[in-house]
């Protein structure tokens, strides 16, 4: 399962759009896309749109937790957008639903940034 990652810029920062299963095989690709964003720095926010992700395992969760830690270091806001029911279920199993800021769509996630 190949994962497709698209990076877009908007006023306050970047949007990462992920399509495909995020597992031990593909999460290194997600991580390196995130690293490029953090290397650029200087943004106010990072949005990660997960609408195209139907499967995520602990390596994907770990990648998002790392992203949150990097965002905190850089003073960036991290917002997760459009979690599918299977991904939402994994977040609940991991008791992480309350730790991330989760939005229903990109518009709402961009509001107030």
């Amino acid at each position: 399962m190949k994962v497709e990652i698209t990076t877009q810029k908007f006023g306050a920062g970047s949007i990462l759009l992920i399509k495909g299963d995020v597992d031990m095989n593909s999460s290194p690709d997600v991580r390196s896309s995130l690293d490029e964003i953090f290397k650029q720095g200087g943004a106010k926010a990072l949005l990660i749109n997960l609408s195209g992700v139907r499967y995520m395992d602990s390596s994907g969760i770990a990648t998002l937790v790392e992203a949150m830690q990097n965002c905190m270091k850089q003073g960036m806001k991290l917002r997760l957008v459009e979690l599918s029911p299977p991904v939402r279920d994994v977040f609940e199993l991991a008791r992480l639903s309350s730790i991330f800021e989760i939005f229903a769509n990109t518009g709402e996630a961009q509001a107030g940034l």
């Binding site: 395992d57 390596s59 994994v90 199993l93 991991a94």
Partner: protein
């Protein structure tokens, strides 16, 4: 449109299984493991959410074999056997790598927000019994069992 009748394929449940899948210890085969499991689980009568959680758990157990038992060597192999009897759905994972130390295998403290340590938590969430058998000549035999919900039809 006088008549609307819905039929479901009626399959005489036969207990002939098991199904065995052998894949190399490269993470790209996790997708093959997940794909093969799905139809077995729906046929076994699991609903979508249970099926998803079982698939997640098996994926995590395979990832752990790749990471810990084989220390990232992608040229070894993982053997998955899936079987059911009247009461239980059973997944066995066999590796030939570094033996697991059951004492060290524990889910992480959820209060501690850090990456890692979630795999064993997900395994425990999906299965009722998790047994690491290291009494093999080589490697580990992990047995994951889930009780079947008894539905009286």
């Amino acid at each position: 449109m006088a008549e609307d009748r819905r039929r479901k394929t009626d399959m005489t449940r036969n207990e002939t299984g098991p199904v065995t899948l052998i894949v190399p210890s490269h993470p790209k085969y996790l997708y093959v493991v997940r794909s093969a499991l799905y139809p077995i689980l729906t046929d076994a009568g699991f609903g979508r959410k249970d099926a998803r959680r079982i698939i997640l758990a098996v994926d995590e157990a395979c990832s752990n074999i790749i990471k810990h038992a084989y220390e990232g060597d992608p040229t070894k192999s993982i053997t998955m056997t899936v079987a059911e009897d009247a009461d239980r759905f059973i997944v066995r994972l066999r590796d030939y790598g570094k033996k697991a130390d059951p004492a060290k295998i524990a889910p992480r403290d959820l209060a501690n927000i850090r990456p890692g340590g979630l795999g064993t938590l997900f395994i425990g969430a999906a299965f009722d019994t998790v047994t690491y058998d290291t009494n093999q000549e080589q490697g580990t035999l992990l047995t994951l069992e889930k009780k079947k919900q008894r539905v009286n039809v």
